[in-house]
Amino acid sequence: MLDDFFTRALVAGIGIAIITGPLGCLVIWRRLSYFGDTLAHSALLGVTLAYAFSLNIAFSVFVISAVIALLLLHLQKRTRLAGDSLLGLLAHSTLAIGLVLMGFLSSIRFDIMGLLFGDILAVTLQDIALVWIGGFIILGILYFIWKSLFSATVNYDLASAEGMQPNIYNMIFTLLLAGVIALSIKMIGTLLITGLLIIPAAASRNITNNPKQMVFVAILIGILSVTIGLFTSLELNTSSGPSIIVIALILFIISLIPLQLKGKLQK
């Protein structure tokens, strides 16, 4: 069954949607959308280095994302630039460094479009194993640290005062985020991964009323986006990554309807 490229894409995509659901909710709650974006941009540098030193791509991307994340935490303490400026600085300079380095590696042919937008239809069995095993580990860690992480998300001071050690868990969360980007870079691409993190979680917010519900519905919407997106791309012969994000957007728009209706009823 898994020898069919389409089935493989589906299995890998659903795996990614299950991981991005909960992490996407946390990204939204913590207002870290641009942070995710920055990590994704820096991933290009990770890919270049992987080719240059023939490393595993996911591993290399994870290391670079983690370094960038820690660098950001450090810079936030050391400079007076606002958070969004720092993010822009890191995102585009790592992207540029990645592209410049690529120029030096002229012997290797890079598929730039593939890196930016991913190529989920080229997924191998090895990739599937990586996504599901990696995803299992990420979600396992997330499950164990959920209470501390969540309380730190609601209010840092309160979590800190009541012994939840938010510093440690914020750091772990950052590493998990780097992990997700590393796992999904090949399939979704650097430019679209933030979309898969944020859009399903945002759609879920519109129709849920407690945190756990929001996480589960975000996973469902992610799975729906991947599934419908892939079938649409097969049917209409459109690129698969962008099709998935377009479907997620359509689901987001649909999720607004209950809010609109409620607003009208109240008027």
Binding site: S151, T153, N155, D157, L158, A159, G163
Partner: protein
């Protein structure tokens, strides 16, 4: 528990934030069953001192000693973003696992048990303050730190909440560190008052502090003379939503 039921002590502690000391030379102790109040004008370092006691901020000089880990905190300000759907019941479970009964019991103590399933975003300032207090009580802490716990609460509610705080200290035998600008309550229930203005101006029993020169300079003489605990007789009582019950 260690000597004299001491829960926490600061010794000559201070926080420096370029280019000045936010607060310096603070020494204080909180023991079980004791209510210690920090008063002082805006920017005098009350919240900073509370955060040192809670170990949120590490003192740049001096030291903190803590003899308990059962701590609950009611911060001065909490903004919960709309993007996070959060019901009162979820908020109550933020840092510890509680059964529904325990949650209702605590909410009941601050008069907001009806809000159990409500969204946090829909609460009024006063209701939210009551939920914050209920959450802290539910932890059954040994040390409770309250930073302006009655802000946004109407006048009768304020007295109501201060009575609840007094009861907590008696029932749970916990130590309370209270940050307040509300002198009425300070005079009526506090065991020890510390008056801050970047440093400790004066401290002691409420009755002696109000006669202190430093205190009068800070708050003005007319205010120190009119300090009496507001008390009046009602032939009815109000529940938290304002309705009259007998």
């Amino acid at each position: 528990m260690s000597k004299n039921n001491l829960l926490v002590s600061l010794e000559n502690a201070g926080i420096y934030k370029s280019p000045k000391w936010l607060i310096r030379g603070v020494s204080l102790e909180v023991k079980s069953g004791q209510i210690v109040t920090l008063i002082g004008p805006n920017g005098s370092g009350k919240t900073t001192t509370a955060k040192m006691v809670l170990n949120i901020l590490e003192p740049d000089e001096g030291s903190l000693k803590r003899y308990t880990n059962k701590i609950a905190y009611v911060p001065q300000k909490i903004n919960i973003d709309w993007t996070m759907p959060l019901r009162v019941v979820d908020f109550m479970r933020l840092t510890n696992n509680l059964s529904n009964n325990e949650i209702i019991e605590s909410l009941n103590q601050t008069g907001v048990e009806k809000l159990f399933k409500e969204q946090i975003h829909g609460l009024s300032g006063g209701e939210f303050q009551r939920v914050l207090l209920a959450r802290a009580i539910a932890k059954k802490p040994e040390l409770l730190v309250l930073d302006e716990p009655v802000q946004g609460v109407d006048f009768n509610g304020e007295i109501d909440l201060y009575n609840i705080i007094k009861n907590i200290s008696a029932n749970l035998n916990c130590g309370i560190l209270l940050v307040s600008h509300d002198l009425h309550f300070v005079m009526s229930a506090t065991d020890h008052v510390i008056c801050l203005n970047g440093h400790i101006c004066c401290s002691g029993k409420p009755s002696s502090v109000i006669k202190d020169k430093a205190y009068i300079e800070l708050f003005g003489e007319h205010r120190s003379k009119t300090l009496t605990y507001y008390q009046h007789d009602h032939d009815h009582t109000h529940s938290s939503d304002g309705s009259v019950s007998s």
